[in-house]
């Protein structure tokens, strides 16, 4: 497979995963802002998904609709849904002969949907959840179409490596930012709404209820988001998937490149696998998450050096 094509497929899925993360985050936070009788701040959401400085974020943090507009359709925001879907589509466009026609059409539809004036009108003036749901569904359609139509070859592996790498980074990030809110002092967070929406925003609420029936506790939230094998958005699950798809890359020609990245993935996998909520707390959640994130970034860089370099 052409290096350029592998690169584009990898990034196409990273962008799609990010889109999904942003949209879900916006949806639950909007719902939360309707629940919250006091002052509701979008600051953490802005911190996770935009490049705004704390001061810039603070100026719009309490204006829900402005935040929605900035994060969904602002052309100046490089991480707005509009811009990253456009990026994903540009990537798909340049590899149209490597993805199925259905997948291309699906992404192309997404691109036209996020530019739909009527939809954006709903988002800014009417009920934003209706509009966000339409967009989230487009993303689900993308995953479903990829699953059903794409051949299980090298391209599919690169797509999934991109997707799960992005997801692992995102989950670590969300946890990090959310806990930094309370200065990592877990006894501080007693408000259950807070936990509920954190879990809802990454679709982990129901699982949490079933698994831990004793109410919300920081230790358990960390356990679910970082360590739970069965939670598809946990850091552990995502890294396992990266590892699973990367193993398929093994070939005669590229042994040294393969081995060096395989080593890096193995290392971060063990770091998470052999942790417990207690050891993480002991080490400090922020330090632990930062370490994991740095390992994941390094894998991304190594991939582009060994597999995607074409210039």
């Amino acid at each position: 497979m052409l290096s350029r094509v592998a690169d584009s497929l990898f990034w196409m899925n990273r962008y799609m995963e990010r889109t999904d993360g942003i949209l879900r985050m916006l949806k639950t936070n909007y719902a939360l802002s309707q629940d919250d009788l006091q002052y509701f701040s979008w600051q953490p959401v802005l911190k996770i998904f935009t490049f705004l400085s704390d001061e810039e974020a603070a100026t719009i943090a309490c204006q829900g609709r402005t935040v929605l507009q900035y994060m969904v359709s602002d052309k100046e925001n490089p991480n707005s849904v509009l811009n990253i879907v456009t990026q994903a589509r540009e990537n798909a466009r340049s590899v149209q002969d490597h993805i199925t026609k259905e997948l291309w059409q699906c992404l192309n539809d997404f691109y036209h949907t996020v530019r739909d004036e009527q939809l954006l009108e709903w988002l800014y003036k009417e009920d934003p959840i209706t509009a966000l749901d339409v967009l989230i569904k487009q993303g689900l359609l993308f995953y479903g179409t990829a699953d059903i139509t794409m051949a299980r070859g090298e391209g599919y592996s690169f797509m999934n490596i991109g997707r799960f790498l992005e997801r692992a980074i995102q989950s670590a990030n969300i946890l990090d930012v959310k806990f930094s809110d309370s200065k990592f002092d877990f006894s501080n967070v007693t408000d259950t709404t807070y936990w509920r929406y954190l879990l809802l925003s990454i679709s982990g609420y129901e699982l949490y209820l079933r698994k831990y029936s004793g109410g919300f506790e920081a230790r358990r939230v960390v356990e679910q988001i970082v360590l739970n094998d069965h939670f598809p958005r946990s850091v552990m699950y995502s890294i396992d998937q990266v590892s699973r798809y990367f193993e398929r890359m093994k070939s005669e020609q590229t042994t040294s490149a393969y081995n060096s990245i395989d080593f890096m993935i193995g290392k971060v996998k063990s770091r998470v696998r052999y942790s417990t909520p207690e050891t993480i707390m002991q080490q400090g959640l922020h330090e632990f998450l930062t370490g994991v994130k740095n390992d994941l970034y390094a894998i991304g860089t190594a991939l582009s050096q060994h597999y995607f370099a074409y210039t």
């Binding site: 497979m1 350029r4 592998a6 052309k75 540009e90 466009r93 149209q96 539809d109 074409y310």
Partner: protein
């Protein structure tokens, strides 16, 4: 309003060949479509037009216009009423194009080797050497199977008596074939069950024939050669076509930056290292192909690709340097080529062409400017043209001055009216001028022309310019089997 009235309201120009109507009655080949349309109401027809637009948009059959940093998606305008060609007309066109291409291929071989046609005085030496597309790099280089033109898009038009003329031979990187293929997919949806009913021939074979031809050119003895399509990239307006063709043939779509030349061999950079490339179907112009040989500032090409080509390590399709055969000044000599190389009378007519370097011909042209079309010999896409019948006095004077300054840069042709075909526009059926570009494929086993082509439409009322860059659109082209 019923569609019946829609048909009654259609009145083509009396001085023009209309594809559907002949003095008030519907031509036989259109009766199936007319029956179909008569069963529809205007609303339904409008819905069908909407449906076509939606299909193009959702399938991403669009080209992007980049304006102030933001890309705007545009659809190549499509008219839902098909253009129909009878079996007899097609047999004639097919024979004519085959003959013409055979001669043009022989001409290219000759002009880059022995130059018999020049020595025998049929084509003046000066006209060859003054053509910027005549490339010294190709002289005495034996291309595989002596084929220079693997893919040709010959533009045909019809004068008011219905006879076909060749307007242009496109022998470099003719585009538009994906629209022939996609337009058909759309008309299948718009006219359900109609195509088999009236025996429309399929165009589906095109990618298979092309792929077979490309594979047969591979220089290495290899049962599974690597064939790639070289595209300038996503910013090219024909990018959709490149991806469509690559997908339909199952070949790799590459950009210049994906390729590298080492020891006169071309490789592509893959995730598993370098992989040798055998055949390149390039959609990059000659000038941008190799910065070491041609335009040094080209970022679209591959350094060293010409040396690999001349060594015979890679096949390039179409051959480099074909522009010398579709130059507008050399066009005038094609009938002579057919007689010279094949000893046959040309089947398809040429539009009479005046060489402006010849004083007598120039005088004649200047006297009759309002009946002439002046074209720059090295421009395409409808640029650099003067339509005498609609030009202002100043435009005419400007062109005349330019012609006197450098007559080789221009040719003149009498205005040919172009046939008209019905188009559905603003709820009415209106006549618009059309041309026809069938796509011919030359391989080691002969010349094949897929029964169909791109019918381009001049969407503005009365306009004779069909180029898409000048506001032209397209129609599906149905060739009937019987």
């Amino acid at each position: 309003m019923l569609t019946n009235e829609l048909l009654n309201g259609y009145c083509p120009d009396s001085n023009t060949w209309d594809e559907m109507y002949n003095t008030g009655s519907v031509r036989q080949q259109y009766s199936g479509v007319v029956d179909f349309l008569q069963r529809l109401s205007i609303e339904e027809l409008g819905k069908k037009e909407e449906q076509a637009k939606r299909l193009f948009m959702t399938q991403g059959i669009t080209f992007t216009v980049y304006n102030s940093g933001e890309g705007i998606e545009k659809i190549f305008p499509f008219d839902i009423i098909p253009r129909i060609i009878t079996a007899t007309e097609w047999a004639y066109i097919e024979k004519g194009i085959q003959q013409r291409l055979k001669a043009l291929n022989l001409f290219l071989k000759d002009v880059y080797n022995e130059q018999f046609i020049i020595k025998d005085g049929l084509v003046p030496l000066s006209i060859i050497y003054s053509c910027p597309h005549f490339l010294r790099e190709m002289v005495r280089f034996p291309v595989p199977y002596d084929i220079y033109v693997h893919i040709a898009g010959i533009d045909l038009i019809r004068d008011n008596d219905g006879s076909f003329y060749v307007l242009e031979d496109n022998l470099r990187t003719p585009s538009g074939v994906s629209y022939m293929l996609e337009n058909r997919e759309i008309t299948k949806r718009i006219f359900p069950d109609l195509l088999p009913l009236i025996n429309v021939r399929s165009v589906m074979e095109y990618p298979n024939i092309l792929h077979k031809n490309l594979v047969s050119l591979a220089p290495r003895q290899n049962s599974n050669p690597t064939v790639v399509l070289l595209s300038p990239g996503i910013y090219n307006s024909a990018y959709f076509e490149h991806t469509t063709l690559a997908r339909m043939m199952g070949i790799e779509l590459v950009e210049g930056r994906d390729l590298v030349v080492d020891n006169h061999r071309v490789y592509m950079k893959t995730t598993a290292g370098l992989q040798q490339v055998d055949v390149i179907y390039r959609r990059v112009d000659d000038d941008f192909l190799d910065p070491l040989v041609f335009n040094a500032s080209s970022a679209l090409g591959v350094s060293g690709i010409m040396s690999a080509y001349r060594k015979g390590n890679v096949a390039i399709v179409n051959a480099v340097g074909n522009g010398v055969a579709d130059d507008k000044a050399i066009y005038a000599y094609v009938p002579a080529m057919i007689r010279y190389y094949l000893n046959e009378e040309p089947i398809l007519k040429n539009v009479p062409t005046y060489q402006l370097g010849n004083i007598e011909e120039r005088e004649h042209v200047f006297k009759n400017m309002n009946q002439m079309v002046i074209k720059k010999t090295n421009e395409s896409g409808g640029y650099g043209m003067l339509m005498g019948h609609s030009a202002s006095d100043k435009e005419i004077a400007d062109f005349q001055a330019a012609i006197i300054k450098d007559p080789r840069q221009f040719i003149a042709q009498p205005t040919i009216s172009l046939s008209s075909a019905p188009c559905y526009m603003n709820g009415k059926l209106q006549p618009r001028r059309v041309d026809l570009r069938p796509y011919a494929l030359c391989g080691p086993n002969g010349i094949r022309i897929v029964p169909g082509g791109l019918t381009r439409v001049a969407l503005r009322e009365g306009s004779l310019v069909v180029n898409s860059s000048q506001g032209g659109g397209s129609k599906d082209t149905w060739v009937l089997a019987v």
